[in-house]
Amino acid sequence: MTRSVAGSRWLLAFLPLLWPLTAQAQPAATATLNTGDTAWMITATVLVLFMTLPGLALFYGGLVRAQNVLSVLMHCFAVTCIASVLWVAGLYSLSFSEGNGWIGDLQHIGLRGIGVGELNGRTYPETVFVMFQMTFAIITPGLIIGALVERMKFTAMMLFTALWLIVVYAPVAHWVWGGGWMQKEGVLDLAGGIVVHTTAGVSALILAWFLGPRADFRARIHPPHSPGMVMIGASMLWVGWFGFNAGSQGGANAAAGMTMLVTHIAAAVASLTWTLIEWRKAGKPGLVGIVTGMVAGLATVTPASGNIGPMGAVILGVLAGIVCYFACGLIKQRLQIDDALDVFAVHGVGGMMGSILVGVLGTATFGGSGVTSAGAQLVTQIKAVGFTALWSAAGTVLIVLVIKATVGLRVGQEAEYTGLDQAEHGETAYHLD
């Protein structure tokens, strides 16, 4: 299916099939529950939730000023809650029930029909699959928070998250993982270079552009108020990411083991690469730098981690360190877009890069598996990444317009000066005396 055809069909596709005409029986699943797979998938789910709470929250919270740290933690927490509720209400069904190539149907609305014993063809309960995928629907809008910190209204952020999950996340998840058109075309994206990082990264950039820069973005930006907090959060992201990537193999199997290994290698290599560049460029190797390199490495390896070998992981790690480092400067210094915590440069760029390069690194030449023709796979990957980026951008513009017309995007100037913790949440982060 070419993009133009896709473009013409989607409006049609979304509407009539939302409610399944006949509640189709699932194809007879012959799988039985495997306790080892179940044990690992529950654990992986816990790990991915841990990535957001408190991992991502701390990673982001430490990067802002002390007067805004609570608002960041609050955003992450509230996004977790709202995404969870929407997921159960209907998004799981839209993402993972049959539907058509563009969107699932509503047969599992309110988790209808997902009984205790339901396996749905897997070796672990569907309830666990619902939960595992929910943690992805939590962290993805969570990532976007990094772009909007220190100035966006709490209400606006909540509304954005809800709409974004419906308009951007659920469709893309369906395309790539829920049996949609990209999956049918053979797109490779084990754990979300497209579904998670491309959507979040692109949307973050667009949102940051609409929000405008923080008050003193041009004159003087403030250093991270707590690099230690950043590092704690990053460490939790690292350990949790094994749930993210290896968990996406759906069981405690050999593939999960290799996924774990290449995930780790890419993270370590990207950290060192970033640090070396920073050391040369800025004179000193910093803590915020090394952990940012790690996150870049993990975002980059995520889509590829089901198909590459150690060699591919090293290559992705090096590229993540280099490309994401310079992307940060490009966005902030050149384009002067205040994507405050570099969501696009680190997650977006990394995720897109990995999503494309798996087409090459997944070949046997690079010790990978699952890619037989690099050329054809590259085309598939690039098309998927490109289309997802466009969709995310368009969806974000739409949502921003809605918010501007309703609750408004940005807090007032005084609130921004005082800090969102006081202004929006009535709290103070550090009463140390």
Binding site: R220, V288, T292, K332
Partner: protein
């Protein structure tokens, strides 16, 4: 009586205290402050962007002394706090009209 306010580099506090102690001055009140002056702050670089920290952490030592000890105290501080590099700080002397020791109600020199 005078109130001496000395702005010094934080890592010199120990030396200054010991030096003052050796001339019999034991009482002082210390505040952490931020200094702006000829010595400039620094930049921290994160992800390729420069962040300016334009103040320098300094330590302010306040000492109430009898007028006749001012010279001695100034000299002592100067010597102990000096590193010869820019930003070593300043000493200010203010008139002090009255002192009370809360615990005993003693006033003036008694109270120092």
């Amino acid at each position: 009586m005078k109130l001496i306010k000395a702005i010094i580099k934080p890592f010199k506090l120990q030396e200054v205290r010991q030096a003052l102690s050796s001339i019999g001055v034991e009482g002082m009140t210390v505040t952490e402050v931020k200094g702006f002056g000829r010595q400039k702050g620094h930049t921290e670089i994160y992800r390729g962007s420069e962040y300016t920290v334009d103040f320098l952490p300094k330590t302010m030592v306040e000492i109430a002394v009898a007028a006749d000890r001012v010279g001695e105290v100034i000299n002592t501080i100067s010597k102990a706090a000096s590193s010869g590099k820019i930003g070593d700080g300043k000493i200010f002397v203010l008139p002090l009209e009255h002192v009370v020791r809360i615990r005993t109600g003693e006033v003036g020199h008694e109270a120092l």
